[in-house]
């Protein structure tokens, strides 16, 4: 008996030792790395949301014999931390990586993480919207991103609610109501009167977002990337327009439960829609409201919210091949295909003139010719300069201050103070 116990114990010790050693050696193992310049067996593409690449990737596999793995992440919020991890550890990044407008700038701040595409692809500088192409360049002149899509703005509005309040419902007449933001405010007031005091738009932050990107040139940062939030005319314009509309706002900030619920409840009658937002509006409103929404032009013309680029991380072992794949995914034909598949708006000038693109209509939105509406809006987008912490300043300084004012937590002066103070400290330690 005693012997058995002892033996069992010894065996357990041996087992523990083996496990420990095995665990350690597993940590020490490294993948065998292929020599640089070799033709890859497989390329990996990282995207978020729906970029419409499924079919295109299959086509590329057939044409080149290179296997392509498409890794999709549903939300940008999950995508960004992963990407940060890949870059921080120097491991795991895909060969082709999608970068959204909001996060592009902070990743551009360390351009050495990205391969310079200039020597790897042909010169496409004249084939895309010029401002979009420029944004793909890092401060040191490297070309780090090829343009994919753009989030040009329109207004989504509820025809039934407009009618009940005595406003026109036909989309051209609706667009004619608001050639500028004043007109939009007037329409909102009329709606409020006609509907017995109901709110017109979802929130004033949505307004500021729309106005901000129409101003062109510098927003929160000057060309040398100094923060100029307190003096920038573009920011002031967005601030003034947004704060003036507090009387017609439902105070439901974008993505909040009040906001998502508001679509079904009809808490607001209009909201600002980049093309990628159409699907979200449809989902939030539900099948019961199909055909009640329509799409009109945005006040002031143009405007942009979102949009992406394809970049190749420096850590990719097949930069040349990866660049070629990115080049393929962003060319005119591919952009039209992607739009037809999932709706991201093209940035390639040729794709924007494409018949299939221009004649596209959206069934949920009363068959609105969204291709034409968004296509026209695209050409009016003003080129802007976005600084390194643009997204953080917008989301963690400007919008909270606007919401504090909107909810009556701070008066206009206090809210402005809060904004300028927070803008200065965003990542500025």
């Amino acid at each position: 008996m005693r012997l058995t116990t002892r033996r069992t114990r010894l065996a357990a010790v041996a087992l523990a030792a083996i496990t420990a050693v095995g665990g350690l050696s597993a940590c020490g193992n490294d993948d065998d790395e292929p020599a640089a310049g070799e033709k890859p067996a497989k390329l990996v593409v990282d995207t978020f949301g729906e970029m419409g690449y499924d079919e295109l990737v299959k086509q590329y596999e057939k044409e080149t014999g290179i296997k392509v793995e498409l890794r999709k992440t549903a939300q940008l919020g999950e995508y960004r931390p992963k990407l940060v991890r890949y870059l921080a550890t120097g491991k795991g990044a895909a060969d082709v990586t999608a970068l959204e407008e909001g996060i592009l700038n902070e990743f551009k701040a360390n351009p050495r993480n990205w391969a310079d595409l200039n020597p790897l692809v042909a010169d496409h500088s004249t084939e895309y919207l010029p401002w979009k192409w420029e944004l793909g360049k890092a401060p040191d002149g490297r070309l780090i991103g090829l343009p994919t899509d753009v989030g040009s703005l329109a207004v989504c509005y509820r025809k039934d609610l407009f009618q009940a309040a005595g406003l026109p419902t036909e989309r051209d007449q609706v667009s004619a109501l608001w050639p500028d933001w004043n007109g939009f405010h007037e329409a909102g007031k009329k709606y409020k009167q006609g509907s017995g005091g109901k709110a017109f738009i979802d929130s004033i932050t949505a307004v500021s977002n729309g106005v901000l990107f129409q101003q062109g040139s510098d927003l929160f940062y000057d060309k040398e990337n100094n923060i100029i939030a307190d003096t920038s005319p573009a920011v002031k314009a967005a601030w003034d327009t947004a704060t003036s509309m507090v009387d017609i706002s439902a105070k439901a900030s974008t993505w909040s439960p009040e906001w998502s619920g508001g679509f079904k409840q009809g808490t607001f009658a209009a909201t600002f829609c980049p093309s990628w937002m159409l699907g979200i509006v449809a989902d939030n409103s539900g099948a019961a409201n199909k055909g009640k929404w329509d799409v009109a032009a945005v006040p002031g013309g143009g405007g942009n919210w979102g949009g992406s680029w394809l970049a190749v991380p420096e850590q990719s072992k097949y930069q040349k091949e990866a660049a070629k794949l990115a080049e393929f995914l962003t060319n005119a034909t591919s952009q039209v295909e992607a739009f037809k598949a999932k709706g991201p708006l093209p940035t390639n000038l040729e794709a924007l003139k494409n018949e299939a693109f221009l004649s596209y209509t959206n069934e949920y939105f009363s068959n609105a010719p969204t291709g034409k509406i968004f296509g026209e809006s695209v050409s009016k987008i003003q080129p802007v300069h976005l600084g390194p912490k643009h997204q953080a300043v917008k989301e963690n300084a400007l919008e909270p201050a606007l919401r504090a004012f909107e909810n009556g937590q701070a008066d206009k002066g206090k809210a402005w103070e809060q904004f300028t103070k927070d803008a200065k400290t965003q990542g500025a330690f």
Partner: protein
């Protein structure tokens, strides 16, 4: 039959080996080695894992906190600058106040209520005891994200259940995430809902370990239920109570998911940072802002120090008051 590969004793059929003393010595040696070192091997897996996932990150975080660190770029040594900056950082103090505010609103009522429930469940007259004991633990099994999302809906301004109920008694709708006190209350209620049952069970286990004859003796002496609770249950529960308090403290200081989801995932926690906790501030500085990772690491160490201090304080307080 013999199976061991390590000692390889002779088969029983074979005659005993000639050199008995050397065999004995060998066995003695192995025995000693076994007794002396095998315990270390048994606990080695824990220490290996702790080293990799506990100790190393802590040391690394301390190292990072002494740098101006860009997560995906360069870093340079700056000594204790991050810590000096921390002391004059308004938003750090704001987060600290929020954390303690929510902590007080959640831990104190929670532990009192848990004590009450545990005492109730400990009564002999209660029927379907097991059912109640299981049921009270259910909230803790629910994923924290689900809890936060559901409570977020209940506390909505426009269509929320609580505002609807308040409407019945003529109270104006509350903008729950727009005020400090209301947001703290909402978040504390999530924590309370989730952890009261857990603490109840631990306290109940502590109560059941109290010898029954103490109560019997007290009853014979004519002590009331209340007096029994006060003079027997509470003093005997002291060690369990310290444990529960320290656990709640650690949880309370690290509060993250509930306030984050309550604010629709915005890391600054409210338009004016009304409910940004320390853990959220650490995440904002260390993870969200890529180029302030060093400062975020300093916040992380500050949280660690605060937890140690508060736990120590709790420990002393509970020990003294129970004496």
């Amino acid at each position: 039959m013999s199976l061991s590969a390590t000692t390889a004793p002779p088969s029983p059929a074979a005659p005993p080996p000639p050199d008995v003393t050397s065999r004995h010595r060998r066995r003695y040696l192995l025995n000693r080695l076994d007794l002396k070192y095998s315990p270390y091997l048994y606990i080695a897996p824990f220490f290996l894992i702790f080293g990799a996932f506990g100790l190393y990150p802590m040391v690394r975080t301390a190292w990072m906190s002494l740098h101006d660190w860009d997560m995906i770029g360069d870093h340079s040594f700056i000594g204790f600058d991050n810590y000096t900056r921390l002391l004059s950082d308004e938003y750090f103090w704001n987060a600290l106040v929020n954390t303690f505010g929510i902590f007080a609103l959640s831990t104190i009522p929670q532990l009192l209520f848990a004590l009450f429930l545990a005492n109730l469940l400990n009564r002999t007259f209660l029927r379907a005891k097991t059912f109640f004991r299981m049921a009270i633990f259910v909230p803790n099994v629910v994923s924290v994200a689900a809890v936060a999302i559901v409570f977020g809906m209940l506390f909505q301004r426009e269509f929320g259940l609580f505002n609807w109920l308040l409407g019945f008694v003529g109270v104006e709708a509350v903008d729950w995430d727009g005020n400090t006190w209301s947001s703290w209350t909402a978040i504390a209620s999530m924590v309370n809902w989730r952890w009261t049952g857990y603490n109840t069970l631990i306290l109940l286990a502590g109560m059941q370990a109290i010898p029954k004859d103490l109560y019997e003796a007290a009853a014979i002496d004519g002590a009331s239920q209340w007096r029994q609770f006060w003079q027997i249950t509470l003093p005997m529960l002291k060690p369990t109570f310290i444990f529960v308090v320290i656990l709640s403290t650690i949880g309370g200081m690290q509060l993250f998911t509930e306030p984050l989801l309550f604010g629709n995932g915005n890391i600054i926690g409210g338009n004016q940072r009304e409910f940004q906790t320390l853990a959220m501030y650490m995440y904002e500085m260390g993870i969200v802002n890529l180029n302030t990772a060093g400062y975020g690491a300093a916040v992380a160490w500050a949280i660690f120090m605060i937890i140690v201090l508060v736990s120590l304080f709790n420990f002393l307080l509970v020990r003294r008051s129970a004496k």
